[in-house]
Symmetry: C2
Subunit: 396 residues, 2 copies
């Protein structure tokens, strides 16, 4: 099988954004807007990288890439983060090949080359291949699109060179790797994230790898054993914001009013923990009462996020519009604009979802009906993919 398709989910923060910076628990969940990678092995000594979302299409001869291998001793990736010298070298190479490309494009290409060369170094051969990566995720919206990209690259490259298995059996439409293989994918994807972000938390690639939900606190990432899949609306207000400025604003508030703000962070922490308990209970026996609690936690946390100063009128609008349809919403991620999630129940009628979506569209927002608690990185048989993805991957 010369053509392989891997996908990985995005992520949203369900509870604990910002509080996590202050040592509290955050719950990150896999978002079923996925990034798809198609790898086709070639035998003509060419490497093609096609990233239609960012309008990038590049190709190299493996002979061009070979000199770069010197900076990638076998096994280095396992023991050390990407060095500034490695990244600089790749940036120079990409800059030469690409001209004056924007920084994000450039970083996506550098991350690919970093993982490609690490694999090549480990296998002792520079494989010839087409790589096409396309994502349902908007980029730069805090939804883990770069991590989903890195996870897909890690899974496809490691598997393509035989470092890990190719788990899809005859007649299967979708398959996942074993735990220890996922662990390797996650560690390599984290290196990709380090190339792109410098100092990432590791949460996004962990969610992209394992899917479901995970608990994150003080640098410790713990995937939850079993979580339900929950229907949501994801709304992108498209209001731009600076995570750095928002994080600094929260810190200022906590310093200005410690006696008022510390308890709010403690309450957010308790919300994350309560939510974790409810998700665990729902995995066995989901009930209306569980949904009531999830909705209540969403409403409370949205108020807390306003209190710590990361709300925005656009997010208030999302909450009001969805509340008018009986739905509950909160911002997710940095706030100050950006994205919001709206919980749907299993029995929320399509008419309600359509009406809410229409109203959100009318506000100028972009809105997706999707799931959280989605599976992590998977391998797909191409015919099993939905038509839209098949069309993109076949270059239509």
């Amino acid at each position: 099988m010369r053509r392989r398709v891997v996908s990985a989910p995005g992520k949203v923060i369900l509870h604990g954004e910002h509080a996590v910076v202050h040592g509290k628990v955050a719950l990150a969940v896999a978002l079923n807007l996925r990034t798809f990678l198609q790898m086709t092995l070639r035998n003509d000594g060419k490497v093609l990288l096609h990233l239609p979302n960012i309008g990038t299409r590049l190709h190299w001869e493996t002979s061009e890439l070979e000199p770069l291998l010197a900076a990638f001793p076998a096994g280095l990736i396992d023991s050390q983060p990407p060095s500034p010298e490695q990244v600089e070298k790749l940036k120079e190479f990409v800059g030469a090949a690409e001209g004056a490309a924007a920084a994000t494009h450039s970083l996506a290409i550098v991350a690919f080359l970093y993982l490609y060369l690490s694999v090549a170094s480990k296998c002792g051969v520079l494989p010839s291949m087409d790589i096409l990566v396309w994502s349902e995720l908007p980029t730069g919206a805090g939804l883990g699109s770069s991590a989903a990209y890195s996870v897909c690259l890690a899974g496809a490259l490691l598997s393509g060179c035989g470092i890990i298995s190719y788990p899809l059996g005859e007649g299967q439409s979708v398959a996942r790797w074993a735990e220890d293989e996922l662990d390797l994918i996650n560690r390599w994807a984290f290196r990709g994230e380090q190339v792109i972000h410098g100092n990432p938390s590791g949460v996004d690639n962990a969610v992209g790898t394992w899917g479901g939900a995970l608990r994150y606190q003080s640098g410790k990432i713990l995937p939850l054993k079993r979580v339900p899949t929950l229907r949501i609306l994801l709304t992108n207000t498209k209001v731009p914001r600076s995570t750095k400025v928002l994080v600094a604003g929260v810190k200022d508030k906590v310093l200005k009013f410690p006696a008022i703000m510390e308890p709010v962070l403690a309450s957010i922490d308790a919300i994350s923990q309560e939510c974790e308990d409810v998700l665990k209970a729902m995995a066995d026996h989901p009930s209306q009462e569980h949904y009531l609690v999830l909705e209540e936690l969403i409403d409370i946390n949205q108020h807390h996020l306003d209190v710590i100063g990361v709300g925005h009128s656009s997010l208030d609008r999302v909450c009001q519009v969805t509340a008018s349809h009986g739905l509950h919403s909160k911002l997710t991620g940095a706030g100050g604009g950006g994205c919001a999630i709206t919980l749907l129940r299993p029995d929320t009628p399509p008419t309600i979802v359509a009406a809410a979506t229409q109203d959100l569209d009318a506000c100028g927002f972009e809105c997706w009906e999707t799931d959280i608690g989605a599976p992590g990185v998977c391998v797909h048989s191409p015919p099993s993919l939905k038509a839209e993805v098949q069309a993109v991957l076949s270059g239509v």
Copy 2:
């Protein structure tokens, strides 16, 4: 001087409503919507009580009232709360005089008779007088109208019989009593509140007596030494609510999610304390920075009150409408409807206030521009009163 006019302010809770039930600090402040009492001494053995707000006009011969005195031994009011027997006896008497009057009307009359007879017993004479009480306060809106009524009655009756002084000097337009006299007025007014409410906290009569602001926690009432007068808009959403049901709802939430809700109550407590500090600092040197903090505390507490479940869409509306004019609002009192306060700055232009008021009126709310931190019970020279009050007191 046979005609005397006494006034007392209403009250609003600035911060700490509901949290106070859970042992946290609340700040109550005097509201400059006042109740006015006019007492005119007569010498024809008649007692007239006129309460135009509730359409009540009654008169008795002092000889009719004399048999009631047996239940009012001199000094009893100072040592004991109104007994069920005393109240029952007065209710029977009022019922006979009044027919099937509504309970609140009846309680206002009973409270008058209770205080009148206590004074009479103490002085050994049943004074003949006209009493007219009229209030700028809406009744039943949690604004301390019954306490303002009791405070006015206590001040006028105690002063009228010479138990305390009549502080208004020649040529003065307004005067207050000395501290020890205010203390007696407050204690008698509390008895009036006990007649009306059964088991009041004593906060409302304390605010009506001392004015300004006071701190209330676990049954302990502490008037603040010096506080600034702050301009506000008071908005009555006119949405009816049950304080009892709201208080029970908060208790349920705290029991359901203790780890989430206890910190919110702690944060509200810290807001009250921070506000107290700011008010003290403002009494000396009010600054723009102080107003910024007061506005921030209002916004935070409004979110917290939503979190503990006492918000209402009508209150959200008040917050949105005033926010659209750059103003900050919170519910005051029980929530779930009822009243909200909106802070104005000394330099908030009248055009802004007028526009906000117009928008609030358009929502079907009733809106007053007034002050908090107003003076407590005072005596007025009638000509110094504003025309509207003069008109009401002169029976026009």
